[in-house]
């Protein structure tokens, strides 16, 4: 039982990181109708942006977080304007393949600039808190609180702001959004900005929890897509739920199978979802 709860805590932590990535991926899918394969590497770029701020200005990582989010948001908008915007009107599969190429480019850039070895934000040992039999690192609480805060912000943005509503409208019914006079290009830019910022946050949190590595984002792409599909493609709230479910399932699976099968668990959930409930928990666009 103790082990179960400890794994559940880890699962919620991993889940909130996945959720931040999945919200962006699902919103991009909702508005642009393609699976953004560079999303994981966008997370990694965000993590390294924060590392740059931490090492150059000698600032704590939580101060570097907003800077990394803004930079990654700008990068995401830039990539869209330079690469994806030109091929928006062709088949979605071409967008998908070019996002794959973008992923490779981003990863190589990280390797060129920061090298391919493991890096950390802060050296030294952080003393974990012991709550009875459970172990909790202060960072974990920070990550969870910050992730929750960001999810609440996204919720407020989507339900209260004009742009957030326009984003949901475009994701709901592209043609009607056009007819209504919603400016598609502005909505698309905002979608990239928010998707990029959330990806950066996910990357930074992942880096705080573990370490920074050029493939850190790429390896999380599969669980993120699994969370997106499980939650219903194009549904931000589904992505949050999907992220938490996948995160917990991945951690809890180590009770019965070796830990190296964690990604396989995410993959299995994704396949089962696609077979039995392709529209996801919250009815999505699939």
């Amino acid at each position: 039982m103790v082990e179960f709860i400890q794994l559940l805590i880890n699962g919620i932590l991993l889940g909130s990181i996945l959720a931040l990535g999945a919200i962006g991926a699902t919103m991009i899918f909702g508005v642009l109708r393609f699976a953004h394969f560079a999303h994981g590497d966008l997370m990694a770029v965000g993590a390294y942006f924060a590392l740059a701020v931490v090492t150059i200005f000698n600032l704590p990582v939580l101060v570097a977080l907003p800077v990394a989010m803004v930079l990654t948001a700008a990068l995401a908008v830039g990539i869209d304007q330079v690469v994806y915007r030109r091929i928006r009107r062709v088949q979605p599969v071409i967008l998908l393949i070019s996002s794959f190429a973008t992923a490779l480019i981003l990863r190589s850039l990280i390797q060129m600039i920061w090298g391919s070895s493991n890096q950390v934000y802060a050296t030294g040992i952080q003393m974990p808190w012991r709550l009875g039999p459970f172990v909790l690192k202060p960072d974990h609480l920070l990550i969870f609180a910050a992730a929750t805060g960001l999810v609440v912000l996204v919720h407020v943005f989507l339900t209260r702001s004009r742009m957030g509503k326009a984003m949901r409208a475009m994701s709901d019914n592209m043609n009607l959004a056009l007819i209504t006079g919603i400016p598609a290009n502005r909505v698309i830019m905002w979608t990239w900005a928010i998707g990029g910022a959330l990806a950066a946050a996910a990357g930074v949190f992942l880096g705080m929890d573990t370490r920074l590595h050029p493939v850190m984002g790429w390896t999380l792409l599969l669980p993120i897509f699994a969370a997106t599909i499980l939650g219903g493609i194009g549904r931000p709230y589904g992505a949050i739920l999907g992220g938490l479910v996948i995160g917990c399932a991945m951690e809890l699976s180590t009770l019965v199978i070796p830990g190296s099968y964690k990604p396989a668990v995410a993959f299995a959930i994704m396949v089962v979802t696609l077979i039995f409930r392709p529209q996801g928990i919250i009815k999505g666009a699939a």
Binding site: R162, L176, I179, T180, G181, I182
Partner: protein, 234 residues
């Protein structure tokens, strides 16, 4: 000056002309109805005017200015609102959000416009917190028209607003359209319920295979034995 004037339109998809020299003319504050058999190009005419189907030849004028091939968001900016026949609400958004988005291109206080829509469709006020997707067909049509009215249009284009509705709701929808028209809004609509639509129309067009067959006042078209025999089912 005509509110809307479409001259000699040739338009269609992938090089095939569905419209072949279609004319349409809407005076401000008129109700103009397009009727005709399936495949006559009625919906295509609406979409072409609104910039959703490429126009190969011909011109569209709105209040004297040439708006041929302008994109839909420019149409909205000029005060033309269009309600498509299907998928005409944001299903996962609430009624209120649907209406707010209708006013997206007209920023600023929307209370007056909301009140106007609610006075035409009181039921929308009661249901404003509901997702539009869970509402009945008739209510969804109200949301769709309400959304279009949020820009305070001078011209409202409706594509088969009564399709799939019960007879009672059809009557009600036509009454609401007349209410909207009485606010000084010109209405251009495509209708399958041709007799009822022509009865409230200032003018009507009979379209067949993309060409104008007849045009006249609504009552005159109804009284025309040829039109009745060929297009109104005897």
């Amino acid at each position: 000056m005509a509110l809307l004037e479409a001259q000699d339109l040739y338009a269609g998809y992938g090089g095939v002309d569905i419209l072949r020299g279609t004319h349409l003319h809407v005076e401000s504050q008129d109700i103009v109805v397009i009727v005709g058999p399936n495949g006559a190009g009625k919906s295509t005419a609406m979409k072409a005017i609104f910039g959703l189907v490429p126009i190969r030849q011909g011109h569209v004028y709105y209040q004297g200015s040439d708006i041929t091939r302008e994109p839909p968001e420019r149409m909205v900016g000029r005060g033309i609102a269009y309600v498509p026949q299907e998928a005409n609400v944001f299903a996962s958004l609430t009624v209120l959000e649907n209406l707010e988005l209708g006013a997206y291109s007209v920023p600023g206080d929307m209370t007056a416009r909301l009140d106007k829509v609610f006075s035409i469709f009181p039921r929308l006020k009661e249901r404003r917190r509901q997702p539009a997707g869970v509402m009945s067909g008739g209510e969804r049509q109200m949301v769709a028209m309400g959304r279009a009215l949020m820009i305070d249009p001078q011209l409202l284009m409706l594509d088969e607003p009564t399709a799939g509705l019960s007879p009672r709701l059809i009557d009600e929808t036509f009454e609401r359209i007349q209410d909207i028209n009485h606010l000084g809004i010109g209405v251009l609509m495509v209708e399958q319920n041709a007799r009822q639509a022509l009865a409230i129309a200032d003018r009507g067009y009979v379209l067949a295979t993309g060409e104008n067959r007849y045009h006249d006042t609504g009552p005159a078209l109804l009284a025309n034995p040829e039109v009745a025999a060929m297009f109104l089912g005897g």
